[in-house]
Symmetry: C2
Subunit: 135 residues, 2 copies
């Protein structure tokens, strides 16, 4: 297979062209060789690497964490337990986020329920909550 240019890589892996450059800039993609005119020539399996990144991102991993996972993948001596540990930590993160969001939603629902929706904004219980004097 021929090496890919930036746009081809972007199209085949389903991301924006600038995303490719961004990933390269932050070291998620190795520095590719260049053509005589300076064009990037990516090895075709880079498509797979980008899909790896996107899939890990979908499950909540930040790019810095994805970088670690990619490093783990080729690191001799890395074990399955290392990966599982990261997955479990991420699960705990997500649980905490969900708890926060549920608390927000609950509070908002109670406020919305206490607001009849009639009348001017002066006695709105929602704004009153935001504007309470005491802490």
């Amino acid at each position: 297979m021929m090496p890919l240019r930036s746009k081809q890589l972007a199209e085949r892996s389903g991301v924006n062209l600038q995303t490719i450059r961004y990933y390269q800039e932050i070291g998620l993609l190795p520095e590719p060789p260049r053509s005589a005119a300076g064009y990037r020539r990516f090895p075709p399996d880079t498509v797979r690497r980008i899909r790896f990144i996107k899939r890990a991102q979908e499950l909540g991993f930040a790019l810095a964490e994805v970088k670690e996972l990619l490093a783990l993948q080729v690191q001799t001596g890395a074990t399955c337990a290392d990966v599982r540990h990261r997955a479990n930590a991420k699960i705990a993160d997500i649980e905490a986020k969900i708890r926060d969001l549920r608390w927000m939603m609950n509070a908002l629902e109670r406020l919305a329920a206490s607001c009849s929706g009639a009348g001017p904004v002066g006695n709105c219980p929602i704004l009153d909550y935001f504007d309470e004097k005491e802490s």
Copy 2:
């Protein structure tokens, strides 16, 4: 009451000094009068305004949205229904986020369960999922 200097305002409202200046910069706080030496002199009720902002933020409103809420508060003709509408939209946002996070968590839990934790990283089902060839 005497007007407050930046740091006093920051301390009394429980935010960082730079946050005060940031809020002023983006128009969330009105431009305060200055002392002869150029020091900001905030009216004491600014503390209350910042607490408003912080409370709305806690319930998931972005600063731009908080700005709208603050504008609504003093806008003649604004109704309680306007506020409730915003609250309901925010509830829908949060619901969508929770759904996404639950999907992530589910997927991660299934992957973590499929991973024994034993052995090298080569056959890790978690990394395999990220690294699958087919889309």
